[in-house]
């Protein structure tokens, strides 16, 4: 009876626990974490609490998804609290539970929980390699805070609640990129990691500025931030206004989802621990922009111009980042540029109006990119272990401590297939999924984007993305050959050790999802399309065989080419990249990220610093401080107090009066003193005169 009632009303009332569960987890870890860590089981306890909190959010997400399903696909809004009511502004904390938001919730909490579990093992070793075991607790607090903020983002019922989460995840991203804030990625004392964190934060502020402008415009025009109100009002609003709103929103998307021109922070964000790179900078937070565009679909549909701009931005980013990934040596940097490229795919998809394809790729990408990053983390730990093994048991290699060893540099790897077999197979799964090989998840989702681009007539976008897909397969092939095949190019790689099950088991789950994830939206079945149809106006697109064949053929060709270059003749230690010679300057460009950072520095940063210096030195110091404050205000004040008040009013007025009174009294008493001469006869004379005066007065009156 009670159960059937619950079935009817659904589990919507549980929605606030999406946020409360991780918040409780982080509070427990803040309060008890330090106490836990003093015990031998402390790290497990801290990690378990955090994982359970994230897992609880996953359970709630699953129940909510079920409720939406049981409700016939229709969403609900769950009111939690009144935030503020000021004039026209009516802000409530309301959870929007529909098929789109529950999809995001499931990805965030599902992948998030797996990464929490992975992090228990990863951080156990990381804090020891970095020699600060107390930060273990802080890591999980931040991780739970991130889950909470991300849940606020995806469950918000208005643009402002979304923005709260948007900023929250930005903060967590900043905190976690700068997690090892006092060192660089190699553990040397430096501010490199904090600088990376600041770069991410500031670049995101530029994007958020755009988002804020979009929000202001929205409120100015529609007097509301609520999704429903805005979407309804937008239909009768002038298209120029909607165009402005959507384009400013695109700036925010470019910041958070690392699109041209604001993508530069994401590669640097790899300074954070690998679970962070996987969770925040690959699987969830960076997809917030894609979610935002999907959520704002009713706005974007009204202005095809904006859609075109979004699609081109995404497609250009996809290709541009893919070319840079080819020239990178750091295993995480390759994945970072790959993430930017894949986000480009998603943004292009949602820009074309192919929301289902974009969201589908978002989900599958979360699986396989998290898998790749976490496997990369496992590889890095394996090399660290090998390096430490050498340092402790090396005997003849006494100088190993002096050598700076980069465990993330692919030129130090090679042959890891034998030493880390489990990680190899996991990584291979992720690679095949990312490269879009049939029947892995990436094949289906990427193909759907390409098919939509082809069908909707976005020819430019289609070719850009196809080319990007070719590069994707190529750089992933390059990575596989460089990392796992050939001979070890460093002794650490030769002595690398496989990771423990706490690290590999979550990876296996992700690998499984990367294999079967495509089943979400198989051509002909369109499960995912039907699911999202309840929230978005989308239609199932048909499978285009020619597109699938071309992209698969290109991917296979790219892998074969990468084998010809990197697999057939494995790289030797110290040998430059074989592509360097034939490509020449082009490869130098890829290697150096097309000098975008340097360009930004020359064009924007240096001028910015110059303007700042001018403002600080000339305007603020010399004009404002030296002239206005010192001369005008302080000078006038000094003159006023010194000359006018002190010299004239005080000294010549008040002092003169008081001193004059004293002087007069002194002089008067000096003359009176002469009367008191001590001669009795003069006193007698005074008495006589006094009597004469009084009597005279009395008589003559």
């Amino acid at each position: 009876m009670h159960f059937s009632e619950t079935i009817n009303t659904g589990f919507f009332f549980l929605a606030p626990w999406l946020v409360f569960a991780p918040v409780i987890g982080l509070l427990v870890n803040i309060i008890l974490g330090g106490w836990f860590l003093k015990r031998s089981w402390g790290e497990t306890a801290v990690g378990t609490v955090a994982s359970l909190a994230s897992g609880a959010a996953f359970v709630v997400s699953a129940l909510l998804a079920y409720s939406v399903y049981a409700n016939g696909g229709h969403g609900e809004s769950v009111f939690l609290a009144q935030w503020m009511h000021i004039g026209d502004l009516q802000l409530n904390w309301t959870f929007r539970v529909d098929s789109l938001s529950t999809t995001m919730m499931l990805v965030v909490s599902g992948v998030g929980t797996l990464i929490h579990i992975y992090a228990i093992g990863y951080m156990h070793e990381d804090v020891r390699f970095k020699k600060d075991e107390k930060r273990y607790q802080r890591f999980f607090v931040f991780l739970n805070l991130f889950i909470a903020a991300m849940m606020i983002l995806v469950s918000g019922d208005s643009y402002l609640m979304l923005f709260v989460g948007w900023e929250g995840v930005g903060l967590c991203s900043f905190l976690l990129i700068g997690f090892w804030y006092d060192m660089d990625t190699l553990g040397r004392s430096s501010w490199a990691n904090s600088n990376a964190a600041k770069k991410a934060f500031i670049t995101n502020r530029i994007g958020d500025f755009g988002f804020l402008i979009a929000g202001f415009l929205m409120f100015w025009a529609f007097k509301s931030f609520d999704f429903n109100t805005v979407f309804e009002a937008a239909e009768s609003a002038p298209p120029e206004l909607i165009l402005l709103i959507t384009l400013f929103m695109l700036v925010g998307v470019a910041g958070k989802s690392a699109q041209i021109p604001l993508y530069v922070w994401l590669p640097d964000a790899m300074a954070g621990p690998t679970p962070v790179s996987a969770l925040i900078h690959a699987a969830t937070m960076v997809t917030a922009g894609v979610y935002l565009v999907s959520r704002s679909a009713p706005l974007y549909t009204l202005v095809p111009e904006a859609q075109y701009v979004v699609a081109m931005t995404g497609a250009a980013t996809a290709l541009f980042a893919a070319t840079i990934a080819v020239g990178q040596y750091d295993i995480k940097k390759v994945l970072a540029y790959s993430t930017i490229s894949q986000l480009g795919f998603m943004v292009a998809a949602v820009g074309m109006g192919a929301y289902v394809a974009g969201m589908f790729h978002l989900v599958t990408h979360a699986f396989f990119k998290a898998l790749l990053f976490l496997s990369a983390g496992s590889i890095i730990l394996g090399l660290e272990r090998g390096h430490h093994h050498l340092a402790h048991h090396g005997g003849g290699h006494g100088d190993h401590h002096e050598e700076v060893f980069d465990p993330g540099d692919m030129r130090n790897m090679g042959g890891l297939r034998k030493t880390m077999p489990v990680t190899f197979w996991l990584y291979l799964t992720g690679t095949l999924a990312l490269a879009g090989i049939f029947p892995f998840a990436g094949f289906w989702s990427k193909d759907e984007i390409l098919a939509d681009a082809f069908r909707e007539g976005y020819t430019g976008v289609y070719w850009l993305l196809t080319l990007a897909a070719f590069f994707t397969a190529f750089y992933m092939g390059r990575q596989i050959w460089m990392v796992f095949f050939g001979e070890p190019r460093h002794e650490a790689a030769a002595h690398a050790e496989e990771s423990k099950p706490i690290i590999t088991v979550p990876l296996m789950v992700l690998a499984l999802l990367s294999i079967v994830g495509g089943a979400l939206n198989l051509p002909g079945l369109h499960t995912f399309t039907e699911w999202l149809e309840h929230t978005l106006e989308v239609h199932a697109g048909e499978f285009v065989m020619s597109v699938a064949l071309i992209s698969t053929a290109l991917a296979l060709a790219a892998i074969v080419i990468s084998w010809l270059i990197y697999g057939r003749n494995p790289l030797k230690a110290g040998q430059p990249d074989p592509l360097k010679k034939p490509l020449g300057l082009v490869f130098t460009g890829m290697e150096n990220k097309w000098f975008v950072d340097e360009g930004y520095k020359a064009v924007i940063l240096d001028n910015y610093v110059r303007i700042s210096k001018f403002l600080a030195d000339v305007i603020d110091w010399r004009f404002w401080h030296d002239w206005f404050h010192e001369k005008v205000i302080a000078g006038t004040y000094n003159w006023l107090s010194n000359v006018a008040l002190n010299k004239y009013a005080d000294q010549r007025g008040i002092d003169a009066f008081a001193n004059g009174l004293g002087e007069w009294t002194k002089e008067a008493s000096a003359s009176l003193r002469r009367v008191q001469n001590g001669f009795v006869r003069s006193y007698a004379l005074s008495v006589l005169l006094g009597v004469v005066l009084i009597l005279g007065y009395l008589l003559l009156k």
């Binding site: 001590g678 001669f679 009795v680 007698a684």
Partner: protein, 100 residues
């Protein structure tokens, strides 16, 4: 009968002489005697008025004055003796300081 004004004139003359004596002389004893002269000039004025108006008030005050003058002489002479003992002089101009 001698008219009343004669007494008053005599009284004024005596008083003036006494006052001049107090102001002009430096010998403490002489000053003392001049004060007595002034007191008695006042006494003379009192009794003449008492006689004129036939009232006893003036005469009674005169008795008081004579009694007070006697007491004053006792104290004053004692002071003069004490001063003479320490200064070997009774010149009032030499007693311009309060210090002994």
């Amino acid at each position: 009968m001698v008219p009343e004004i004669y007494y008053l004139v005599l009284s004024a003359i005596l008083f003036t002489m006494g006052a001049l004596g107090v102001l002009a002389r430096r010998n403490a004893l002489i000053i003392f005697m001049s004060v007595e002269l002034m007191l008695n000039a006042a006494n003379l004025a009192f009794v003449s008025f008492a006689n004129t108006y036939q009232q006893l008030d003036g005469q009674i005050i005169v008795f008081f004055v004579i009694a007070v003058a006697a007491a004053e002489v006792a104290v004053g002479l004692a002071l003069i003796v004490a001063i003479f003992k320490s200064k070997h002089s009774i010149d009032v101009d030499q007693m311009s300081s309060l210090k002994g």
